[in-house]
């Protein structure tokens, strides 16, 4: 088979929406710390020069015609990974909060899991800690997902993830575009379709651009939306059956196979 255990083909997917300030640096860092990986930036309908900066930094760039949200960008990336027969797909955010030097550590964990989450705040003495309702939301999500996944997860909303072929094929077909769908619901889908999920502690850096909202009001809204998103994810039937998607894209995948 093409998948040799010691030398997997790795695609790093970087969803980017108006990240022209940080995207170039993020890509350079990924390429410097992991010279063997391919980088695909999915420009999520940016109005700035994100796509140009990404291309200049040496990434392949898929440009979405308009903003779809992280879910849409990531499904695009997973479809690309599937059609180009990558063994591993990695998600790294464009804002520079994920340290790509942890990537080899995450990849190693794929030996006993289909999805590895780079978990923030998973170590003692972490400087960045969420508080209040936002923290309660994260704890709740982690508890529920750990239970249904029969594993121990502490940070389910991390955008730093590694997925193997099995998970890629699930995500290429089903990756929700709704609120928190890109993190929480996608994990529920993966678990439901039989993927093993695990996590590995990583250091999180202060975002180079933008900051997660910490005001009590917005954290409370976040908590409520998280509960709704989680509840919906749990009661939904998966795999979803939209009368689009799977079939046409697999046809295109076959076409792509024939091309050099």
């Amino acid at each position: 088979m093409s998948s040799e255990p010691h030398d997997p083909r790795v695609l790093v997917i970087v969803p980017a929406w108006n990240e022209e300030i940080s995207v170039g640096r993020t890509i350079s860092e990924i390429r410097r710390t992991n010279p063997d990986v391919d980088v695909l930036v999915v420009d999520d309908g940016s109005g700035d020069r994100t796509a140009e900066r990404a291309a200049a930094a040496g990434a392949r760039v898929a440009r979405l015609p308009f903003n779809l949200g992280v879910g849409g960008a990531m499904r695009t990336g997973y479809r690309y990974a599937q059609r180009h027969h990558y063994d591993v797909a990695v998600q790294i955010d464009a804002d520079g909060q994920h340290d790509p030097s942890f990537l080899p550590t995450l990849l190693k964990r794929l030996d006993d899991a289909d999805i590895v989450i780079g978990a923030r705040f998973a170590r003692d003495g972490d400087s960045y800690q969420a508080r209040g309702p936002r923290r309660w939301a994260m704890v709740l999500l982690a508890k529920v997902l750990s239970r249904i996944g029969r594993t121990r997860l502490t940070d389910t909303t991390s955008g730093f993830r590694v997925a193997n072929r099995r998970a890629i094929s699930v995500f290429a077909a089903h990756y929700p575009a709704e609120y928190l769908g890109d993190t929480v619901e996608s994990l529920v889908i993966a678990i439901r379709t039989g993927c093993a999920v695990t996590q590995e502690p990583v250091d999180m850096r202060v975002r180079e651009a933008g900051q997660a909202s910490q005001s009590p009001f917005r954290s409370t809204i976040y908590l409520l939306r998280a509960v709704v998103a989680l509840g919906l994810a749990l009661v939904r039937r998966w795999p979803a059956n939209f009368d689009d998607g799977a079939e046409p894209s697999s046809m295109i995948a076959d076409e792509a196979k024939e091309l050099p």
Partner: protein, 125 residues
Amino acid sequence: MNGPEALGILGAITILLTLFEMMRRHRLREKYAVIWFVLAIGALTVALAPSLLGSVSEFLGLQVPSNLVFFVASLVLLGLSLQHSYELGRGEERVRTLAEEVALLRLRLEEIEDRPADPDDPVHD
């Protein structure tokens, strides 16, 4: 034939004719037309036999027959807007899928276009 009766018949016939004309011009798809068609037939029935409305209201224990009309009308409108939400959601999902495909096809096209110029192209190392 009294005034309200004529008005009801006129309204029902107008809806039916509009439906027919819109479908003839491909302005309305059958899946949306069905519920309007049922509605128009219902309105026509009530207009032709007003006593029907009274007896059904009486059977249901409603004092004023027009309340039955309002109740049924609001249910129908609710159903219609629910159907539209459903269709809209499905349409959005399809648009999303198409947008993703467009992005991937564009990338593929760029890769193919760039290939012959590879040695001279500094972007593609």
